[in-house]
Subunit: 110 residues, 2 copies
C-alpha cells in the first residue's frame, strides 16, 4: 500500500521534529531547559560554541515548536514548550544500553 500525500506530509513533519532534536548541542540545551528557562548567554556558556551558533540551534528548536522564547530587557529567555520530549531520553538510554550489551556479545564471539 502506498502512502497518500497527506500521510507523506505528516511523515515529513514528524521527521523534521526529530531532526531538530538530533544534535548534541540541541539535546544539551533541551536538557538544561528542563530545569527552567535560560537566556541565550547562559546556553552559550553551557554549549561552549559561538553565540551565533547557539542562536541558530535555538531557532531550529523554535521552528520545530519545541521551545518558546521572549525578550526581557536585553536578554532573550528560552523555555521548553513541550516537556514530553523529555520522555524520549528514557527510551534512548535503553537503546544505548542494548547497543553496549550487544557490542560486548559480538566481542566475545570473536
Amino acid at each position: 500500500m502506498k502512502a497518500t500525500d497527506a500521510e507523506q506530509l505528516a511523515l515529513e513533519e514528524r521527521a523534521a521534529i526529530l531532526k531538530a532534536l538530533a544534535h548534541p548541542s540541541r539535546l544539551m540545551v533541551v536538557d538544561e531547559l528542563s530545569r527552567g528557562e535560560r537566556c541565550v548567554c547562559e546556553l552559550t556558556e553551557l554549549v561552549g560554541a559561538d553565540m551565533s551558533t547557539v542562536s541558530k540551534h535555538l531557532s531550529v528548536l523554535r521552528d520545530a515548536g519545541i521551545v518558546d522564547h521572549d525578550k526581557r530587557g536585553v536578554k532573550v529567555f528560552y523555555r521548553l514548550r513541550v516537556p514530553c520530549v523529555l520522555n524520549f531520553f528514557t527510551c534512548i538510554e535503553a537503546i544505548r544500553k542494548e547497543k553496549g550489551r550487544r557490542a560486548l556479545i559480538a566481542d566475545k564471539e570473536r
Copy 2:
C-alpha cells in the same frame, strides 16, 4: 558548567539515535515494523524508492540499534528491536498539533 568528555560522548550517541529516526522513509519503516516483521522487498514496495536506498535506510536503523534482522532463504526480515520508540509518536503528534494551533493564532493576529 562545562560538559565532561563522557557527557559529550553520551550526547553524541543520543543524537545519533534520534538522527537515525529523523527521516520520513525511516519513520514509515518503523511504523510498519510496529505491526510485525517485514522483508526488505515489502518495505521497498511501501517506501516506493530504489531497493538500494531502502537497504541503506535499514542499515542506518540497524547501526542505531533500533531494528534487528535475519536472513531466511533469500529474504532478509527486519523487526523492531526497541518498541519504546513508538512512544515518541504521541509526543511528536502533540507538537504538530501545537504548531498548527499556534500558526492559526499568528494568522488571526495579522
